[in-house]
C-alpha cells in the first residue's frame, strides 16, 4: 500500500531530530518508544500534536501511542517547569529521610510531586530509584545529582532559583 509520510506539525527545526530517529529505524512501528524518547528529549515533554504526528508517521493507532506514552513513568505529557527537582524515593533514600525532603518542598511551594508551581518556575518530581544509594537521600537539581540532602539544603538550593 502506498504511504505518504506526513509532515511535522510545525516548521520548528527540532522536528528534524525526531524525523532522524524515525528514519534511522525505517519508520518501523516497533520504534515507537525510541521515537517518543527522541520527542521528549527534544521538546521536554510529549504534547498532543507530537503524539498525533508520531502516530501517523509510524502508522500506529493514536490510542496505542497514548497508551505507551502514559504507561511508562519516564514520559510526561505536561511541560516541565523552568527548574526541576527530582527527589529519589528508592528504599535507601526513603529510610534515610527522603519523605521529609519532599514534605518540606511541598509545604513551602504548595505543590505535590508531579506538579509545577503556578509561575512555572519549579517542578517537583519523585524518582523510583536513581541508583545513587550510597548518597542517600539523593536529589537531582536540574540534572545534577546531590547526595545526603537535608530538607533545609533542598529548600536553600531551590530558593536560589525562585528568588531571582
Amino acid at each position: 500500500m502506498h504511504f505518504t509520510k506526513p509532515s511535522p506539525p510545525s516548521d520548528d527545526k527540532r522536528w528534524r531530530i525526531v524525523e532522524a530517529t524515525m528514519r534511522r529505524h525505517g519508520y518501523d512501528p516497533n520504534a515507537l518508544i525510541e521515537t517518543l524518547h527522541s520527542v521528549q528529549q527534544t521538546f521536554g515533554y510529549l504534547e498532543t500534536e507530537a503524539l498525533q504526528y508520531v502516530a501517523k508517521a509510524l502508522r500506529v493507532p493514536l490510542s496505542k501511542v497514548y497508551g505507551v506514552a502514559t504507561f511508562y513513568h519516564f514520559f510526561t505529557l505536561k511541560p516541565q517547569g523552568e527548574h526541576t527537582c527530582v527527589v529519589c524515593m528508592g528504599t535507601a533514600c526513603y529510610i534515610k529521610g527522603a519523605p521529609h525532603v519532599v514534605a518540606a518542598i511541598s509545604e513551602k511551594y504548595q505543590i505535590q510531586p508531579g506538579e509545577t508551581t503556578a509561575d512555572g518556575k519549579l517542578s517537583l518530581l519523585t524518582a523510583r530509584c536513581i541508583g545513587a544509594c550510597g548518597l542517600a537521600p539523593a536529589v537531582v537539581f536540574d540534572g545534577e545529582v546531590a547526595g545526603k540532602v537535608t530538607p533545609e539544603e533542598a529548600l536553600q538550593r531551590i530558593g536560589r532559583w525562585t528568588d531571582q
Partner: protein, 543 residues
C-alpha cells in the same frame, strides 16, 4: 583479530604511552561524579599543568572503587594510597605529596575489611581501567575469551564450560545459565536474539549501573560469547533511560568494539557476526520481567504474557531469544578464560561464584561490594559494612527489593546463597541490600514496597492490579492507627491470593515484604493496631 593480535595490541598500547612516574586514578562512576569527582579531576589536571608535571603525572578517570559513601575516591599509584572525600581544594596538597608522605587527613585505609573481605570477578576491572578506553580493557585480557571461543571452541563446548561453572542467573531467580543457553541453542529457526536485561528497576540496587559505567566491554564480550553459543547474530541491551551515563559509555564501547572488529560483521576474521543495539527503557519496573521486556523492545506497553512458551522458544518478534542480566553476562568472559572448574570452586555447593551487592541504608560503609557466595550476612554488614552508625542497633536487612523480604537479627549468621535466602522468606534478587536499624518501622517499610508495587503493576491481571491496591489500603489503615485485627486477617488472606494467582513475577512476589515483616515483626503490626502506637516513632497516628 586473533588472540595473538589482541596481545600485540595490548602491548603496543602500553609501549605507546610510557608509564608515568605517578598515576592518579579517580572514580568517575555516577556516585563519585555526583560528589564532584569531575571537578576534582579538573583541579588536579590544572595543578599538574601549572607545575609542568604532565610527563610525570597522569590523572585517569576510572570506574567505581566501591566505597560510594566516602566519595570522591581516588587511588594514587605506585604509592598505593587511597584518598576519600577529596575536594578541589585538596588538589595542590595531593600533587605536592606525590612520591612523598601521603596527605594524612584524606587517607582511606585500604586495609579495612571493606576492601580485604571482597572477592572480585565481575568487578575486577572496576576502578582499574578507564571505562571509555577499549585499549585499557584489552590490556586486562579483554576480548581474549571471545577470540579464543571463536578460534578454538564449538558452540556446544562453550555451553558445556558455562554449565560446568554452575553459574546461575544474577537477575534474581537463579536459573542455571548453562541450561538456559542450551535451550536457546537447541531451539530451531533462522533468527535468534540475545538480550541483556539492564533495566535495573529495584529501588535500592545499583550493581548493574556500576558494572555498565565501570566496565561496559565486559558485558559486550559476554553477550558476544553467548550469541556465538546459541547461534544469534543480533543483540539488544535494554537499559534504563534513568542511567544516562551508563548509556553514553555503552554507546562509546559498542563503537570502539566495532571499529576493532570485535563486534559487527565477521568478528575476528571468522564467519561469526554479531550486532548490538541499545534500547532505552522508559521507567517501568515490570519490564524487568522477560516477556514484558520483550514487549517493550517491540515498542509496546511493557505487559507480560503467560509463560510457556518461554522466550527461549518464542521471544522477540516470535524468535528464540536468550535473556540474561548484566551481571550474568559479566561473569562469562572470566569463566571462559579461567575455566568452568575454577568458577565452580568458588562459593557454595549450589550457588557458585561471587555476587555483587549494593550495600546501603543504615550502615557505616555504603557502596558496591563483591563477595563469594556463602559469606554470612553478619560478615557483610558488620565487617565489610562496618556496622550500624551513630550507636544504633541492627534491626533487619532487606534483600531483593520489592520481591524480597526483611531478614531479622537471628539469621545474621546465615550463609548468603539462593536457597538460604529463600528459606527465610527473602530472595537474592538482583542484589540490593538495605540495612535498617530501630529508627525504621517495619510496617512502614512494608507499606513503602506495597506503594511501589501498586504504582508499578502493569494492570493486566486482576489479582495484582486490585490486590496490591487493597493491600496498600490496609497497610495504610494500620500505620494510621485505624485498623482492626480483622483488617490484619484480611491482609494475610490477600497475601496468599496475590501470591498464587498473579500472572507474572511482580504480582507473585509483591506480598513478600508484607509476609516477611509479618513473620518476624508481627508485634509491630499489633502495636499499631491494638495500642495505636508506632514503636519506631515513624508513623503518625490519626487518633
Amino acid at each position: 583479530m586473533t588472540p595473538e593480535e589482541l596481545r600485540r595490541l595490548a602491548e603496543s598500547h602500553e609501549e605507546a604511552r610510557p608509564e608515568p612516574r605517578h598515576r592518579i586514578k579517580i572514580c568517575v562512576a555516577a556516585g563519585c561524579l555526583s560528589a564532584g569527582s569531575d571537578r576534582v579531576r579538573e583541579a588536579l589536571q590544572n595543578e599538574i599543568a601549572q607545575r609542568g608535571l604532565e610527563s610525570e603525572c597522569e590523572v585517569k578517570g576510572v570506574g567505581c572503587l566501591g566505597l560510594c559513601t566516602a566519595g570522591p575516591l581516588m587511588l594514587v599509584e605506585p604509592d598505593g594510597v587511597m584518598y576519600q572525600g577529596v575536594t578541589e581544594q585538596d588538589a595542590p596538597a595531593i600533587v605536592e605529596s606525590l612520591g612523598k608522605k601521603p596527605v594524612e587527613q584524606l587517607v582511606c585505609p585500604s586495609d579495612m575489611s571493606f576492601f580485604t573481605k571482597q572477592y572480585k570477578i565481575v568487578l575486577e576491572n572496576s576502578g582499574v581501567i578507564d571505562p571509555e578506553k577499549i585499549e585499557d580493557y584489552i590490556a586486562r585480557d579483554g576480548y581474549t575469551a571471545l577470540a579464543r571461543v571463536l578460534e578454538e571452541m564449538t558452540p556446544q563446548e562453550v555451553i558445556d564450560e558455562i554449565t560446568r561453572s554452575g553459574l546461575r542467573g544474577r537477575g534474581g531467580a537463579g536459573y542455571p545459565t548453562g541450561l538456559k543457553w542450551s535451550t536457546v541453542a537447541k531451539a530451531g529457526g533462522s533468527r535468534k536474539f540475545v538480550i541483556c536485561n539492564a533495566d535495573e528497576g529495584d529501588p535500592g540496587a545499583f550493581m548493574d549501573r556500576s558494572v555498565l559505567e565501570s566496565d561496559p566491554h565486559r558485558v559486550l564480550e559476554g553477550m558476544a560469547i553467548a550469541a556465538y553459543a546459541v547461534g544469534a547474530s543480533q543483540g539488544f541491551l535494554y537499559v534504563r533511560a534513568e542511567y544516562p551515563l551508563a548509556v553514553k559509555r555503552l554507546r562509546t564501547a559498542i563503537r570502539q568494539a566495532e571499529r576493532l572488529g570485535l563486534l559487527g560483521n565477521n568478528i575476528c576474521g571468522t564467519t561469526f557476526s554479531f550486532h548490538v543495539d541499545i534500547r532505552l527503557g522508559a521507567g517501568a519496573f515490570v519490564c524487568g520481567e522477560e516477556t514484558a521486556l520483550i514487549a517493550s523492545i517491540e515498542g509496546k506497553r511493557g505487559q507480560p504474557r503467560p509463560r510457556p512458551p518461554y522466550p527461549a522458544e518464542y521471544g522477540l518478534w516470535g524468535y528464540p531469544t536468550l535473556i540474561n542480566n548484566v551481571e550474568t553476562f559479566a561473569n562469562v568472559a572470566p569463566i571462559i578464560r579461567n575455566g568452568g572448574d575454577w568458577f565452580a570452586s568458588i562459593g557454595t555447593e549450589k550457588s557458585k561464584g561471587t555476587k555483587v551487592f549494593a550495600l546501603a541504608g543504615r550502615v557505616r560503609n555504603t557502596g558496591l561490594i563483591e563477595v563469594p557466595m556463602g559469606i554470612t550476612l553478619r560478615e557483610i554488614i558488620f565487617d565489610i559494612g562496618g556496622g550500624i552508625p551513630d550507636g544504633h542497633r541492627f534491626k533487619a536487612v532487606q534483600t531483593g527489593g520489592p520481591s524480597g523480604g526483611c531478614i531479622p537479627e537471628q539469621y545474621l549468621d546465615m550463609p548468603v546463597d539462593y536457597e538460604s535466602l529463600a528459606k527465610v522468606g527473602s530472595i537474592m534478587g538482583s542484589g540490593g541490600m538495605i540495612v535498617m536499624d530501630e529508627t525504621s518501622c517495619m510496617v512502614d517499610v512494608a507499606k513503602f514496597f506495597m506503594d511501589f508495587c501498586v504504582s508499578e503493576s502493569c494492570g493486566k491481571c486482576v489479582p495484582c492490579r486490585v490486590g496490591t491496591a487493597q493491600m496498600y489500603h490496609l497497610l495504610n489503615k494500620i500505620t494510621s492507627g485505624e485498623a482492626t485485627m480483622e483488617d490484619l486477617a484480611l491482609l494475610e488472606e490477600l497475601c496468599d491470593m496475590v501470591k498464587y494467582t498473579s500472572l507474572c513475577g511482580l504480582g507473585q512476589t509483591a506480598p513478600n515484604p508484607v509476609l516477611s515483616t509479618l513473620q518476624y515483626f508481627r508485634e509491630e503490626y499489633i502495636a499499631h493496631i491494638v495500642d495505636k502506637q508506632c514503636p519506631a516513632g515513624v508513623c503518625q497516628m490519626r487518633q
